[in-house]
């Protein structure tokens, strides 16, 4: 009886349909926001910010994006790395072409460009499904990376083929370039994540999200009851790509500072984001964030534990990390295909009926 929904009576549709209808959930949400906005920025060290918190916030956005497409609309995509690259390179081109542009506008516009590119690559999804679509998005991944390597215009013809973020400020704080301060960067990423997560949450429980889920569960049935598959699939592709593009722009401009497309946005990134939503939970915003936290935090914690505390050689710890990630994915696919988010629901269920077993 730690967690209960009894005794809460709603008297209007508005109250009944809110994002967090249960008081305990709402308190938990507000507490975690408080921790994220106040406690963590005060206590975090430079290392933990750079190694864990910033990548978590950035990949959290990408995971939400992919979850919209794969978890809610049922379209498998292996092109996330390529779409992140689109976000990063549009951000770079915007930053260098319009030096006075506000960084937030620049990041959101980069998301917009990525949404458009995603829309184009989403077109085949009308004809092909499942594995075949996965292969088509894989083609997008390879094509986009190849293009950013090949066409000099995208990296302003720099000799090394790298793109480097020039210095930009937001409200007087330096947020890109070498002199960027960690705390303002953290707040920009956190603010964007919270804002985009709330939008995603509201999109997925509204009419649009229901259409996506109808398509995911059975596309022919959805079509018969009047869902337009063209619009549903393409909106999912566009919105998902928008999120992934914003995340790519943040990864480049605010986190890495300099990027080489073949390494930073390789197929590896697509897989990591896919693993995040598989481990976290398909079709759950909360799951995307938990999955991102797991995939980003686990290697760092493992490395610190094994190498710094127990004095193991770094290579053994690195190999162990591969094994643990592989094992976790297999375990989750067998035991809990709905991921960490489902585990959390089961825990809530148990807490609800405690101390009884049934």
């Amino acid at each position: 009886m730690f967690y209960r929904e009894a005794g809460e009576f709603k008297t209007s549709y508005r109250a009944d349909q809110q994002t967090f209808p249960i008081r305990l959930d709402k308190i938990g949400f507000i507490l975690s926001l408080f921790a994220a906005f106040v406690i963590i920025p005060i206590t975090m060290s430079e290392y933990w910010a750079q190694a864990v918190f910033l990548p978590f916030l950035i990949f959290g956005i990408a995971a939400i994006g992919l979850n919209i497409l794969t978890g809610y609309c049922g379209q498998v995509s292996l092109g996330s790395g390529g779409f992140m690259a689109v976000g990063a390179y549009s951000c770079y081109k915007l930053m260098t072409s319009f030096p006075d542009m506000n960084m937030l506008v620049c990041i959101l516009l980069s998301g917009g460009v990525t949404a458009f590119v995603g829309l184009i690559f989403g077109l085949p999804s009308l004809r092909i499904k499942g594995f075949y679509l996965a292969v088509a998005t894989l083609a997008a991944q390879f094509f986009l990376v190849w293009m950013f390597n090949k066409v000099g215009w995208f990296y302003n013809y720099s000799a090394s083929g790298q793109i480097t973020a020039p210095e930009r400020t937001l409200f007087g704080y330096v947020i890109t370039g070498a002199k960027a301060e960690t705390v303002p960067v953290y707040f920009v990423c956190l603010g964007l994540l919270v804002f985009l997560a709330l939008i995603a949450r509201n999109l997925t429980r509204g009419a649009m999200g229901r259409k996506w889920m109808a398509i995911r569960d059975m596309d022919i049935a959805a079509e018969i009851i009047g869902v337009n598959p063209l619009r549903a699939k393409l909106t999912a592709f566009a919105i998902s790509s928008f999120y992934v593009g914003v995340s790519g722009a943040l990864l480049f401009a605010l986190y890495l500072g300099a990027v080489e497309v073949g390494e930073a946005f390789s197929i590896q990134k697509s897989f990591i984001i896919l693993f995040m939503i598989i481990i976290g939970g398909l079709g759950s915003i909360f799951g995307s964030l938990v999955g991102a936290a797991f995939m980003i935090g686990m290697p760092v914690i493992l490395k610190n534990l094994l190498v710094s505390n127990l004095g193991w050689p770094g290579d053994i710890a690195a190999h162990l990390e591969f094994m643990i990630v592989g094992l976790m994915i297999i375990i989750f696919l067998i035991l809990e295909p709905h991921g960490l988010a489902m585990l959390w629901s089961i825990i809530k269920e148990k807490l609800r009926i405690w101390p009884f077993a049934h």
Binding site: S160, G161, L256, A258, E260, G262, K303, S308, D315
Partner: protein
């Protein structure tokens, strides 16, 4: 209760990395895993073994013990940045990122934090201009020296005229592999050879189409900027299409035992550039054996001793140690800081007398660093693989490269960087 205290201990251990201030700290960003481990392991072993030897034999440098902090990067830029953030608070004196990608990432960060970077024979070539890059050093030679050395060697073989010859560049499709292109293009204009570019994508295991193209185009010479598993695959593929090995010249990162041995006898005659001598015929190895190998203190598995890249790692450590000595002398204190280290590196001079004193006679050419020139003299030799005796032999001595072309390009590229980042070029 026990569990709780154990948890607390683990948690505090994770969160707090205690700085060790009484040592000279050298972070080593190594990669002993992944597609580049084959090149990363010998270098990491050599780097750490030399410092172990100094600790055992001399008790450190100037009486202060050395602490090498290894951090695994997997040759991955993001992991490299994580390692940098993790180790910079420990009193790091100099970073040797051992990766061009990570070097590019760390140049602005380390310059802002005031910690020098030594990217020895890799990294950003224009960092040779110390007025724009006060914290970055790439002595004794850089990629553009390498590109010019390859062309010079080909010129020598052809009596100084290579007009109309075809040279193909097989390169790792990254900042590293793209570095020589600009210089090769300039040189192709100057000498009138035809240049064709063949990128190989990470990790480099798939090169069939590139070598098919080489087979079709029949270039007279192939040069390679490869690393890790890419090297051995390229040499194997070259052998498969029966490309004459003596016309295949790799950069100094594509010329270690691990790259040629897998191809067996077919690799015989393959050439690579060299920054230092190969082999173990140096008195220094007696000390290494006595103080490190025999005591069982060798890093890694200890099976890389005396290979080219092991020697390269050792050379890096030697140059770092010599710079510490200069810094200790100039600052007058034995416990130096990163700022002192930078001054030490900028005033580093190593001549043959010093090499002999170190137990490495004729190991490498003289070296002198100054504010104007963080890149050293840029002297490059050529070595050739003898598959029968499994040995690298020097076939051309250390020779100067085309500095007219290179200095112009360095000035151009560093000026562009200075403009982009609002740096006023000056000596510190």
């Amino acid at each position: 209760m026990k569990l709780k205290s154990a948890l607390v201990a683990v948690f505090t251990g994770i969160c707090v990395t205690t700085p060790v201030l009484a040592d000279l700290v050298f972070p080593a960003l190594t990669y002993r895993t992944g597609a580049y481990a084959v090149s990363g392991i010998p270098q990491a072993d050599g780097y750490s073994d030399y410092f172990t030897m100094l600790n055992e034999r001399d008790g450190g440098i100037g009486g202060v013990p050395i602490k090498v902090v290894e951090c695994e990067t997997q040759y991955n830029t993001e992991k490299g940045v994580e390692c940098y953030e993790k180790t910079k608070g420990l009193g790091a004196l100099v970073y040797q990122p051992m990766s061009t990608g990570i070097t590019y990432q760390l140049i602005p960060k380390a310059s802002a934090d005031g910690i020098p970077i030594h990217s020895m024979g890799y990294g950003r070539t224009s960092a040779a201009n110390g007025k724009v890059f006060p914290y970055v050093f790439n002595y004794p030679a850089n990629y553009w020296n390498g590109a010019s050395a390859v062309v010079n060697h080909i010129l020598e073989l052809n009596g100084g005229n290579i007009k109309g010859k075809k040279i193909a560049l097989v390169y790792h499709n990254s900042g590293y592999g793209k570095e020589p292109i600009r210089t090769l293009e300039e040189l192709s204009k100057k000498h009138g050879f035809e240049l064709s570019l063949l990128p190989v994508d990470h990790p480099g295991q798939e090169q069939k189409s590139q070598w098919l193209q080489i087979r079709r185009e029949r270039p007279d010479y192939v040069t390679m900027w490869g690393w890790g598993v890419m090297n051995q695959v390229a040499i194997q593929e070259a052998a498969n299409i029966r490309f004459p090995m003596e016309n295949f010249i790799g950069i100094w990162w594509s010329g270690s035992e691990n790259d040629v041995i897998p191809a067996g006898d077919a690799a015989d005659g393959y050439k690579a550039l060299a920054l230092h001598a190969p082999g173990m015929d140096f008195p220094l190895f007696n000390d290494m054996k006595k103080h490190v190998y025999d005591k069982g203190k060798a890093a890694g598995a200890g099976d890389q001793i005396g290979t080219i890249l092991y020697n390269r790692g050792m050379f890096q450590a030697i140059l770092a140690a010599e710079a510490v000595k200069v810094a200790q002398k100039m600052s007058g204190k034995s416990q130096i800081t990163a700022a002192d280290m930078r001054v030490g590196m900028e005033n580093l001079e190593v001549d043959q007398a010093m090499f002999t004193k170190l137990g490495l006679p004729n190991f490498a050419p003289n070296l002198s660093v100054s504010c104007n020139n963080h890149g050293g003299a840029g002297l490059v030799a050529v070595q050739q693989w003898d598959a029968k005796s499994k040995k690298w032999n020097m076939v051309a001595d250390f020779k100067p490269t085309d500095m007219d072309v290179i200095n112009k390009l360095i000035a151009e590229d560093s000026a562009a960087y200075a403009k982009e980042n609002n740096i006023t070029p000056k000596c510190m």
